[in-house]
Symmetry: C2
DNA sequence: TCGACGTATAGCCAGCGGGCTATGAATGAG
DNA sequence: CTCATTCATAGCCCGCTGGCTATACGTCGA
């Protein structure tokens, strides 16, 4: 029952994980080792976070020899943006309704 | 050190809390009691979630007699949208760079 | 003034999850 | 073949937090 939107929010809630994702967004494809250097946590933890990000569809992995290259999946952010737009959309709707009401009152 | 963006993500990560926020977005100002009816959790829990949402700047409260009315603060979603745009922005940048590269190669 | 009502706070518990180390599995180098 | 390298997995621990009940606090009606 836990939908994609929920998973995206949960996944991006952790600062360490979000930092890893940000890094992939800014600097493109990176190996686990390269990410670990600046992550501030151990390599297994980085791998774990990457697995979580992958399950949420936020990253892709590409195996090349013994290293795994990860890259950001930008499109996966769409549900988040859509949700935010939907929420603020309700505000605009109400604003429109208010405007409409005022117009009617003006008549 | 935990900035606003971080707090917003953490706050919206919980499904129950996000549902409450969504409800406030969709249906406007609501009392704690009204929110509790459909929240699926006890009243104290709803109050707690509302306090968390308030600390994150996502809702406002208005006291009227013994009831407290809460309403969504849509503007508080801006950091979230900005962040998402920034992330996808890196993608566009890279796309532009690629386009530029292809142009140069074409010459 | 007193009781009922609406909300917030306190205190507790259990589970989730993020951190660690140790180790396994796969690949490359020599 | 053997050893080093790179990453993933396993197993553990502990703090955080979301849930609960009980209760305190403030407000309204009688």
């Amino acid at each position: 029952m836990t939908n994609a939107r929920d998973e995206i929010f949960r996944t991006l809630a952790d600062p360490t994980r979000r930092a890893i994702f940000e890094r992939l967004c800014r600097e493109g494809e990176k190996t686990v080792g390269a990410l670990t250097v600046h992550a501030g946590v151990s390599q297994p933890v980085v791998s774990k976070h990457l697995a979580t990000l992958k399950r949420a569809g936020l990253v892709r992995d590409r195996h090349e020899g013994r290293q795994t290259h990860y890259s950001a999946e930008f499109a996966a952010l769409a549900p988040l943006v859509d949700w935010a737009n939907e929420m603020t959309g309700f505000w605009e709707k109400k604003f429109d309704a208010l405007e409409d009401l005022l117009k009617r009152m003006d008549q």
